[in-house]
Amino acid sequence: MGPRRDAYSKDMHTAEDCAAPSVTRRRFHIGFIYGLWSVIAAALGVPAALYLLLPPKLRKMPNWVTAGDVSKLQTGDPVEMIFRQNRVDGWKILSEKSTAWVVKLSDSQVVAFGPQCTHLGCAYHWDENRSQFLCPCHNSIFAIDGTVVSGPAPRPLDRYDTKLEGGKLLLGPLQESKGQA
């Protein structure tokens, strides 16, 4: 039904005469209004949700960072090593100081623990008298291999991926440890 006919019917007939077509027309209008606004809402809403919820593309492969020389380390004597690491933070690349507790288990095997207690993230240290890692916050105690000896820590110390090149220790990303069996 075209607009011309509609105008004509409005002018010339009583309301009852054109009730039926005008109801169809009204439904058509309302249907379109809801339909088109739904499309617009989806076309804005879906990209917005993806924009906010999907993680941004990573710019760089995790690099191996040189932590230091481990050739002089004594087996079974943990050392805290400090190194600089680049971290991608949004649109910035930050150069940060990081630490790792490095333990030489044998000549070919070196383990590097993340510097935070797995309980609440406090910095722990090596207690030489007891030959254990001790967290001063809530007295979590870890053995030299990182397993929990006592205290509230839920899982062993986190470990960095490690690689030995010559006498140099290279560190990869910090891997979260699995819960203790």
Partner: protein, 537 residues
């Protein structure tokens, strides 16, 4: 009456809004106001989304926008919607005003509605002006240098205005903060407030009737007129969406206040003002920059008081039609003139900073390798992007990594290294094969696309760089012999002209230099200098 309505009255309010009576003649010409409101909402929404990933300080602003464009999912689309939405908003607001003007809808008692509308037009333009700076690329920076200089040139007020805009003739961190503050903190609530009063006034006085409406029965706003508004809004949105997806929004290099060669141009809707300015020289400049635009705004505001005639029929409003035609003609003429006088930017040496530019980190040798890769059409068999598999192995795949020596032997006699292969031998010299291998060693699945989009001019320049052994005396991107000065960061130290002249006759500009003169075609020179100037420091 529902529970909610009993307590808030919201349903009654919506009902009375939707079932507002409008003149029988209302129709498609009345859709522009609603479109403007809709576009304002799109701008607010996309603007807020952009702000979630944007650092409003110079430098960081640019980096965060690049982050939005190259790393955040949908970032291109959101920025495109915001960018083109601004242009579309100007168009729709001007169409809205033109319609009101032609139909004399500003007449008594609707003078205040019109005047608020003029202020809303100015606010819309203020968004354009302040938003222009926020990407902090060269275009943003130099465009704003010009607009703040104009403000400074206003007699008496100039110095104060200049200080208000954050600097004495300088566009810096303070100007940036002021523009950002205006753009996101001051203008939006001001617009919302004025829009609300504008709509309130329209409702108070009703939509202006056309001749003949007094004898015809009134219509309801809903659903017929709402339907028309919705259709118009949908069409505008569809165009906007397609533009945001298809048309590249420029992001140039980071703002460089030392770049003396940059020719700033304002956004297209300000080009007519820019062109007007050219007619006035020296002390008269203020006429073009302030007096004329000021008078034009004043004239717009006073329209309802100048034209107090009773004629409402649009076909009889010959003066109004004449004014609109003249304005359209003048605007078009000035805009076209400004376009014509814009020096054609050499688009072949443009770099799109809205895409990853990892290729800039490649050494000239590796980038020349990209050139050989393209010239030998390696990609017709070897996919380097995951979604484009080919007959040969994916060269970006780290699991098939080979040494350079292996690759070069393979390039020369493919079957000697991979028995049974159908790959033909590559007919290139040893140094060319070296470059190709060097590039392939840098290739990973992660950077394949970012290296593959290296623009042709840069690749051509790298080939030239290799062919002339520039690297045997110059370090570029950390590679080469440090006999001559390093080439990274050249753009900071030398001008384009200097570099061009230096190629022709090195000793004239650097006495005692052992660099031999070089002759390149003008196109080669363009590519080479453009490439040298984008080498990162």
């Amino acid at each position: 009456m529902s529970w909610l309505d009993h307590r808030t009255g919201i349903e009654t309010a919506i009902r009375s809004f939707l079932y507002e009576e409008i003149p029988a003649s209302s129709g498609w010409r009345h859709v522009f106001g609603s479109m403007a409101v809709f576009l304002f909402m799109v701008q607010s929404f996309t603007g807020a989304l952009l702000a979630f990933n944007y650092a409003p300080t110079p430098g960081d602003a640019y980096n965060s926008l690049r982050y939005i464009l190259t790393e955040v999912t949908g970032g291109h689309l959101i920025r495109g919607l915001h960018h083109w939405g601004a242009s579309m908003m100007i168009v729709v607001v001007v169409l809205h005003m033109t319609q009101v003007f032609l139909y004399g809808a500003y007449k008594k008692p609707r003078e205040a509605t019109w005047m608020v509308g003029v202020v809303l037009l100015l606010l819309t333009m203020a968004y354009g002006l302040t938003g222009y700076l926020l990407p902090w690329d060269n275009r943003a920076y130099w465009g704003t240098v010009v607009s703040t200089r104009i403000a400074t040139g206003i007699p008496l007020l100039g110095p104060y205005l200049s200080r208000l805009l954050g600097g004495d003739n300088e566009v810096g961190v303070v100007t940036f903060a002021r523009f950002y503050g205006l753009h996101v903190l001051l203008l939006p609530p001001a617009t919302a407030l004025l829009m609300a009063s504008h709509i309130y006034l329209v409702r108070k006085h009703g939509v202006a009737p056309a001749p003949g409406d007094e004898v015809r029965a009134k219509k309801k706003f809903y659903p017929e007129q709402v339907f028309r508004d919705t259709v118009a809004i949908f069409i505008a949105f569809a165009i906007l969406f397609v533009m945001a997806v298809v048309v590249r929004v420029p992001l140039e290099r980071l703002a460089d206040p030392t770049d003396a060669t940059y020719v700033p141009r304002p956004e297209w809707y300000f080009l007519f003002l820019f062109q007007t300015l050219k007619f006035f020289d020296g002390p008269l400049e203020v006429v073009g920059s302030v007096v004329l635009p000021g008078l034009a705004v004043l004239a717009l505001i006073l329209v309802p008081f100048v034209d107090r005639g009773k004629v409402m029929r649009v076909t009889r409003r010959t003066v109004a039609i004449g004014v609109v035609s003249l304005a359209a003609l003048g605007w078009t003429g000035l805009t076209v003139a400004a376009r014509m006088t814009t020096p054609k930017a050499d688009e072949t040496t443009d770099v799109d900073f809205g895409a990853p530019t990892d290729w800039m980190q490649l050494s000239p040798q590796e980038l020349a390798g990209v050139g050989y890769f393209r010239k030998e059409h390696c990609d017709s068999c070897h996919g380097v992007v995951e979604d484009k598999p080919g007959i040969g192995p994916d060269l970006a795949n780290g699991n098939i990594r080979k040494s350079a020596a292996w690759m070069i032997a393979h390039f020369k006699r493919p079957a000697s290294m991979v028995p049974g292969t159908s790959m033909p031998a590559i007919q290139l010299s040893d140094s060319q094969l070296n470059a190709l291998a060097a590039f392939l060693l840098k290739l990973t699945p992660r950077n394949a696309a970012a290296l593959g989009n290296a623009p042709d001019f840069a690749v051509e320049a790298a080939l030239l760089f290799q062919a002339n052994n520039c690297g045997s005396c110059h370090v570029a991107n950390g590679v080469g012999m440090p006999i001559g000065p390093p080439l990274s960061g050249l753009a900071r130290r030398r001008t384009r002209t200097w570099v061009v002249q230096h190629f022709a006759n090195p000793q004239a500009l650097s006495p005692g230099s052992i660099m031999p003169p070089y002759r390149f075609s003008s196109q080669q020179m363009d590519h080479l200098v453009a490439y040298l100037f984008i080498l990162p420091e």
